[in-house]
């Protein structure tokens, strides 16, 4: 059918979910509560979320002459996360929403996925939902696939590129796997998660940053969730204790002559490079 052609189709609706994460090298654990003192920590947008944003922008650009696309950014977190949303706006997102409520504060990954899925559904439908592969503070990479499962859509992790397929509602997705790259044809809607380093994120410009500073970011709260949905946010994976591990303020010395040093370096490098 003619209208099935990607060109001349409806504008694409893209979403991106980002997380505001601590960036500092020294974390502090509150002795009393055993929790990490987040309020004091320096935070910024999770690094690979910028790769996801770049990929969303590239897809938007590729359809500029074929209906165009809009990008909506979402972040669940405290007020500080506004800064990460602002960064998305400065990078070209059209709208941004902060999902913030004290009732969301204790969420584990499944709870987070439930909140995101709720608001993605409310503001959707979206053709493609972009997320960073992993949060640098948790490094579990579960939220993307969980959100997809909750929305009843497929997910593709470790995505290197995405482009429109021949027909509307189809996308060609390239995925990094241990053996190399896998090419997939995926029916939208879908969630894709994007790892660090697959593309070179552009920087916000002064002009775009000025524009971003002027866009209001609505705050969406738990009042939009039903009692049943709220009850389901209770964490199922609970942190029972946290302790800081003494970070190496001083490097451990590698002793011996050049030969011994080289041998140790070889061993360390080999161990450190091993793929998870």
């Amino acid at each position: 059918m003619e209208i099935d052609d990607a060109k001349g189709a409806k504008p694409l609706r893209l979403a991106i979910c980002v997380k505001h994460v601590p960036t500092c090298d020294d974390i502090e654990v509150d002795e009393a509560t055993g929790r990490i003192r987040r309020a004091d920590a320096e935070c910024d947008i999770n690094p690979c979320d910028l790769n996801a944003m770049e990929m969303a922008n590239a897809l938007k650009k590729s359809v500029a002459d074929a209906g165009g696309a809009t990008i909506m950014a979402f972040s669940m977190g405290p007020d500080g996360a506004l800064a990460s949303l602002k960064k998305c706006l400065a990078l070209g997102a059209d709208e941004a929403y902060l999902l913030s409520d004290r009732k969301f504060a204790g969420c584990d990954t499944l709870g987070t996925a439930r909140v995101l899925a709720h608001f993605l559904k409310a503001k959707g439908p979206f053709d493609v939902i972009f997320m960073g592969e992993m949060a640098s503070d948790g490094a579990t990479g579960q939220v993307g696939p969980m959100t997809a499962a909750l929305l009843g859509v497929p997910d593709v992790i470790s995505v290197a590129t995405i482009s429109c397929g021949e027909r509307a509602g189809q996308f060609i997705v390239e995925q990094h796997i241990a053996e190399g790259v896998r090419r997939l044809l995926v029916k939208s809607p879908m969630v894709v998660t994007v790892p660090f380093g697959v593309n070179q994120p552009k920087l916000p410009t002064l002009r775009m940053q000025m524009r971003a500073n002027k866009i209001a970011i609505p705050v969406l709260t738990a009042s939009e969730l039903s009692a049943d949905e709220l009850a389901r946010l209770a964490p199922k994976s609970i942190v029972t204790s946290t302790r800081a591990i003494g970070t190496h303020a001083q490097a451990e010395l590698i002793e011996g002559d050049a030969k011994a040093i080289a041998a140790k370096i070889r061993e360390l490098v080999e161990g450190g490079r091993q793929h998870v």
């Binding site: 992790i157 190399g180 994976s237 204790s241 490098v269």
Partner: protein, 323 residues
């Protein structure tokens, strides 16, 4: 009596090797009367029967999923959740690997199960609860987690348990299932492992898992040439501190730091760099950092995890010589 399930991901190269470690972890937390069950699902799952017959496993569940393989996590997760539905499972354990990540996350949703990912070790607490120990914030904090649901899902990082051996006496009791009628929105077009078309857009130093960084220490003698040779040999990207770029030794794209590029490799070897903050700001993501510097008090000693006080040229020569 309950069952501890080990999910064994099947990849293009067969059974994921770290599955064997997860089997050991399952055995470790197994209480009296508990059973360890290995579950795998694939279009051609029967092929892997022998490779999945680990010692100390009570049952092997092989789910045949016609036309559905590892890429179809939307469908695969249904096949697994269905197979577990009628069983009394306390834990589902899986390797913390890309091959299991999406499937396990989706199974957690389907079973409304709590999930703790990227765990180092499991510990049986006094009350019989199984605690999951893992690092958080890079490697800066150690947290202990507990799951409130039954089953609970846990993925385990490799390298913390010995691999279980394959059973000498062949397969344990095998249950075969067929998951028919699965639908996936994902179709595999090519699985050739070839390079994607995005490669030439990628800056090598940001994509490399191993980066060799050289600083002004490389400006003496043939240190730079040696570093270049070593990086090529080791399959590492070569990066530099600002003076190396300012003085034309390396292109701007190779500058690490505040006014250059931020890299997130797994390992960084830092040679002849003093470790100014404008440089160290360019290395993120808590990689393993190893520095070689003639000055034991150089600032880099407060940044790197390991420091060798030596001439970088001498060390590079040794690294280049074959052992």
């Amino acid at each position: 009596m309950s069952e501890i399930v080990v999910f064994a991901p099947i990849t293009g190269q067969g059974v994921l090797p770290s599955t064997a470690e997860v089997v050991t972890a399952a055995r470790d937390i197994c209480g009296a009367g508990d059973r360890v069950i290995v579950v795998a699902a694939d279009d051609d799952v029967a092929r892997y029967r022998d490779a999945l017959s680990f010692e100390g496993v009570d049952e092997l569940v092989l789910i045949r999923t016609p036309d559905i393989t590892g890429a179809n996590t939307d469908a695969l997760s249904h096949a697994i959740a269905d197979a577990l539905e009628d069983r009394d499972v306390s834990f589902v354990l899986a390797p913390a690997s890309d091959a299991a990540r999406s499937v396990m996350a989706r199974v957690a949703v389907l079973m409304d199960a709590g999930m703790t990912a990227a765990v180092k070790t499991l510990e049986v607490a006094g009350d019989g609860d199984i605690a999951q120990l893992k690092t958080s914030f890079g490697d800066q904090a150690m947290v202990s987690c507990s799951l409130t649901t039954r089953p609970g899902i846990v993925t385990l990082l490799p390298g913390n348990y010995d691999a279980a051996l394959l059973s000498a006496s062949g397969a344990p009791s095998v249950t075969e299932r067929v998951a028919d009628g699965l639908v996936s929105a994902v179709e595999v077009l090519a699985d050739d492992g070839g390079a994607g078309n995005s490669d030439d857009e990628v800056l090598p130093i940001t994509a490399a898992d191993y980066v060799v960084c050289v600083g002004r220490g490389a400006m003496t003698g043939d240190n730079f040439e040696l570093a270049k040779k070593y990086a090529a040999k080791a399959g590492a990207a070569l990066a530099g501190s600002r003076p190396m770029i300012d003085n034309g030794w390396l292109p701007f794209a190779a500058q690490v730091g505040e006014s250059g590029t931020v890299i997130r490799p797994r390992v960084a070897l830092i040679l002849g760099v003093s470790g100014a903050i404008q440089f160290t700001e360019g290395i993120k993501g808590e990689p393993l950092t190893i520095a070689v510097n003639t000055d034991k008090d150089a600032g880099i000693s407060h940044f790197a995890k390991y420091l060798a006080v030596a001439d970088m040229g001498d060390v590079l020569k040794e690294l280049l010589s074959d052992v």
